[in-house]
């Protein structure tokens, strides 16, 4: 008897599930849209994740279906469940990662700390929200945004008139004054077992994660406890299975507010490949198969992950590997494009300044 995991989506998250799948002796197969995607080595079918027939065919014989991304439509997810396919995380959980308005409403209902928010369906409604919140706000499209896409900072309702024309309400949020962004990652099994990694600091530039420091420097016992409670509560209440990231604001007045949810391995957990006894990718596979979770003990006092954005060419390997021998390099097999996440570099050690320096120096070899 062996176990097979089917992953919908052929990006770098699916790619990074392949090594632990091989180590654990699991079968892994990937449904990708196009040939040549990051997870190409495990692709067994090209198809459209929005097409029920494609996805049902892909699911045949897999013990569980999971995801590289959160864009599979609810109708497709429901069809899988109706056909008896095990889907983790399931549609009832995933909807809260797919729809930011439903997420905000549910977290508010659960009494969890979130920025002030409102669903706005017109320029007037948004202007009213702005008037109550100092004249500026964040506006998000509830669906389909990532890496800063589908997000605008506005000071007048008219600035999102184009989005409102689509006829669907938008999410307006107060502009939170935050000291920094954090991420609390965990994995949860259907049986309820949860394993948390340390809360980390996530540094963004233009809405894209560029650097992660694990654990978050200077985090108080209280902050660590609150972050863990928030993520644990959401995971249990929303019945999340698999790897799960809660992105948080640490406000200037020392509160934690939930920013975004990601129900899959997440950029803020890439450090765990080299820095944790169990990586988020191995843990995700264990979790969706309802196997006992691995320990999340850290290997180093500090782990720092720096994304490689833009270009990566192997002719830079000799210089980079020689200059930063202790850094672990990870590349995603993607064609270089300006600003595109094509890999990451992780350093670990006892001295945070040194670790940050080494990770940045390593990544810099591959930037344009």
């Amino acid at each position: 008897m062996s176990l097979t995991v089917g992953v919908i989506g052929g990006g770098q998250l699916a790619r990074m599930m392949v090594p632990p799948a091989l180590e654990l002796g699991l079968g892994i197969r990937v449904l990708a849209e196009n040939a040549g995607e990051s997870a190409g080595i495990a692709v067994t079918q090209l198809g459209d994740y929005r097409n029920v027939d494609d996805v049902l065919r892909f699911a045949e014989g897999a013990d569980v279906i999971t995801f590289d991304h959160e864009h599979v439509p609810q109708s497709v997810l429901r069809a899988l469940v109706d056909a008896g396919v095990v889907v983790r995380p399931g549609p009832d959980a995933l909807v809260f990662a797919q729809d930011k308005l439903r997420m905000r409403a549910r977290l508010t209902e659960l009494g969890l700390p979130v920025p002030d928010w409102a669903a706005v369906a017109s320029v007037d409604e948004l202007d009213a929200f702005l008037a109550e919140h100092g004249g500026r706000a964040i506006v998000k499209t509830p669906r389909g945004g990532y890496d800063g896409k589908g997000v605008r900072v506005v000071s007048a309702g008219a600035e999102v008139a184009d989005w409102l024309e689509r006829g669907e309400p938008l999410l307006a949020e107060e502009l939170v004054e935050f000291r920094r962004e954090l991420s609390q990652m965990l994995a949860r099994r259907p049986s309820g077992e949860i394993a948390l990694w340390p809360v980390v600091e996530s540094i963004q530039r233009d809405g894209v994660c560029v650097e992660v420091i694990a654990p978050a420097p200077g985090a108080s016992t209280k902050l660590i406890q609150v972050a863990a409670e928030i993520a644990t509560t959401i995971a249990a209440e929303l019945d999340v299975t698999g790897a799960f990231a809660v992105e948080l604001f640490e406000t200037t007045d020392d509160r934690l507010l939930v920013n975004e949810l990601a129900m899959r391995p997440h950029n803020s957990g890439h450090w765990s490949i080299d820095g944790s006894a169990t990586s988020q990718f191995e843990q995700h596979l264990r979790a969706v198969l309802d196997l006992p979770l691995g320990p999340t003990t850290t290997r180093d006092a500090w782990s720092v992950m720096v994304n490689v954005l833009g270009g990566t060419t192997a002719d830079r390997y000799p210089a980079a590997f020689a200059d930063q021998p202790d850094v672990k390099y990870h590349f995603y097999g993607k064609e270089p494009r300006p600003g595109r996440k094509v890999g990451h570099a992780t350093a670990g050690g006892d001295d945070l300044d040194d670790v940050v320096f080494r990770a940045r120096a390593a990544a810099a070899f591959f930037e344009d």
Copy 2:
């Protein structure tokens, strides 16, 4: 620009090259004899490694050709080199891992410590060797042996009459009185850079490696130095490239004698996946591509690897993972058969007795 490695042979060594190839953004492709072998996920061609046309076709477009096993005939290796293909390790080195008589002759020429040996072509010659060596000896077929196959302990020449009938000389070796078996692994680049892992103790049962302790317990500074010198000398003199294992006897009178050579990743280095900053599989890829080698610092005071022989079925994962959560499990996707290496388990920590116990307990869940 990206780099592609072609691996001849589809076994577990090729399989375990896949994770570091993915992490480093390398292309990896495998020539396997049959569908469904361990490295199946990377197989791009089914074919015969003894067939020049198959192998030449496979090598097209690869930056380097390397190996899962040492059985590719010299004629095929020479044809690759003649066609301009980069082959690492090259045929001039590999011959000494393929032919134990040539290996013994070359090491003797280099003045390296080996057991007393002779090439014997007849029952009479073997009987003469036996008479000079206390009436017992090890006899090996020079080619094709592994895991105890092609090896016999004899006390009369007639006991290998069947092998002698083939018309090729055999290797006769004194029966060494040894305290234990050790393995010194290193990796070497074509440019000459060498990185050594610590010398390890390798515990065999019926000629099959069952357990490896890294580093070798109680190894003196002198032993560590001599093991390193022997392996470094052989690697340089034989122009070995890639991962390289020198299996050694530690004799009861405190000498180190070279037993076998393996010019590829080796069972005695599997612990490095979890226990070293750079695994033997990542290092092999770096070495054959002539990229700077990674550090071989250990992650734990002790790493213990126990092979899983026989059966592995995923229905045992829940009990094993729960009982030994800190152990890293590795399975090779092979059909279980009695005595077959189907995976391994590695534990690490500060207390050797505890580490041994945990690794053995983990592996025992999968034994028949």
